[in-house]
Symmetry: C2
């Protein structure tokens, strides 16, 4: 399957593995890339610059295919020196970067000088247009259905994707709510040049999380997520577990972020991922978990999605539109 | 374009004009049906049973094509005797009914005895499965993006449509967030057999509302709607005007429905529709208004959507999937 995005990024299929905090290790990124998708390592999953350098080298040793490094610049203040992370990425020989959170404008000159292609993830057409103006190569637009941060405007992919593709000249990745070949075919129909999937790649053999969490996603339906942090203007879609319900209650009672901070700590999230206890912490998954019913390898997953999308296009749609 | 739904309902295209209160007159329904879509008259737009009888007869005089009558059974108590409306519909010779709101179970026997095909509109897979069990012929499933009442689960069409089509044996209409050929092609890719569009048919030459409102939809973007009535468990998506903002403020302050009742009265809604004053009352439109840029006739609209969808399928998608 060829699109403007497969050509631009040098990948075999128009499928990108979403950059996932704590999950986007070299192992998952390399598995996704070896399967013909674009694997994405998350820079901040590594606690130190040296760790990131080593993890990128490890990913390079695991695959000869292109992969990307995600750099999410938080919207809340932090002590992270992003410039140092950019230096490590630029010096590593990585050829594709996925940025998210704040605008990548401060780093664009260095990325471009290094010949790096930039995929910027954002949640609104206005931000996508700005990204295009500052020279990013691809926009990954995240609809309301996505896991993690959908923004505050709540526009579903069905409307957001065509709104973005008609506004932009650069190619667009559809992100959020997509887990299979039906979603890929729909995204292409809406004008996108590929798809970005997080939750779906989370439920693969290679994803470095406990089997118990994968099983919970297989069992969930489309109503098993909820939005939290809306009162902090930093809305997040997460699995509807006891932690999410407690956070929602605290927010409803007017509690500020300090009151939920402990509940949603990275340590608790890590505990859920690593022990499989779905109630140990906040678990970031999207509503397309309701469409996921198996735990394939990345290779099986990518092959199935592409062949399903091709069959939908060449048989079902062609017979309807003939 | 042929699908299970065009065959079942005897229509030329897999496009249904959404049943819209105050807008679904014989004029719009007949125009949509004459254009090859399924026009839908709304029963409760007529204040009396005699009025409905006359309006159905008028629609029959305006078109030889199939059209449907929508019967929305309110979730809030009312003085309407729905059985009487069912009698009028059954005796009118109408061959298709669209039900919405509560389950059509109490009326199914009479509809079936009269040879009427029933399309039931609902917002959750669970309700769709129940509708299938009680014998409805088609489910029209309304995603989060829709105008009016999306329910309380907030599942976008991108996830809800495939979840519904994989759960049901009867054919499914995709509703909410669709306004063009891209949306039709995407809905078909997601397993649906057609689309239901309200906002898009509202912005046609034949829709019996003031030109000023149509123009406002042409000008709006995808962020120009908001949800109200969530605190009353009767969430509605409406145009984000001063009335919607006032209602939202009252709800945020804990005000009960009696405090917003006057603002959202039918008389005020009617005033907005008829005078074109966008702030005169609650204006029910969906976020796909952001994808609407013209005011075609129903015939032009249906032709454009079908030819766009066919071109997307036969050219764009076929070249990607070859």
């Amino acid at each position: 399957m060829k699109t403007r995005i497969t050509e631009l990024l040098g990948i075999d299929t128009p499928i990108v593995c979403g950059g996932m905090m704590r999950v986007g290790t070299a192992d998952l990124a390399a598995a996704a890339s070896n399967a013909g998708a674009l694997g994405v390592m998350t820079a901040l999953t590594q606690p130190t610059l040296e760790g990131l350098e080593a993890e990128i080298a490890r990913c390079q040793s695991l695959t000869d295919k292109p992969f990307a490094v995600n750099l999410t610049v938080g919207v809340v203040a932090s002590e992270i020196n992003y410039d140092d992370y950019v230096d490590v990425i630029v010096n590593s020989g990585v050829k594709i970067v996925e940025t998210a959170g704040r605008s990548p404008e401060p780093f664009m000159e260095r990325f471009k000088a290094a010949g790096i292609k930039v995929v910027h993830k954002c949640v609104a057409v206005r931000h996508a247009l700005k990204a295009e103006r500052i020279g990013v190569d691809v926009v990954s637009i995240d609809g309301f259905e996505c896991a993690g941060h959908p923004g505050e405007q709540d526009v579903g992919g069905l409307v957001l994707f065509p709104a973005a593709t008609q506004a932009l000249k650069i190619p667009v990745l559809a992100s959020g709510g997509i887990a299979d070949g039906r979603g890929l075919a729909a995204a292409l129909a809406l004008g996108c040049e590929g798809i970005n999937m997080g939750t779906r790649f989370l439920v693969t053999k290679e994803a470095p999380i406990h089997e118990g969490i994968k099983q919970k996603v297989v069992e969930m339906d489309e109503n098993q997520t909820r939005l939290i942090f809306r009162s902090y203007r930093n809305t997040a879609r997460v699995y509807r577990n006891s932690v999410a319900d407690q956070v929602a209650e605290i927010e409803a009672a007017g509690g500020d972020f300090s009151e939920v901070h402990g509940l949603v700590s990275g340590a608790n999230q890590e505990k859920a991922w690593s022990t499989g206890d779905i109630d140990a912490g906040m678990v970031t998954v999207g509503m397309c978990g309701g469409l996921i019913n198996d735990i394939p390898s990345c290779k099986e997953l990518v092959e199935t999605i592409v062949s399903d999308a091709e069959r939908i296009i060449n048989e079902r749609l062609a017979s309807i539109a003939r």
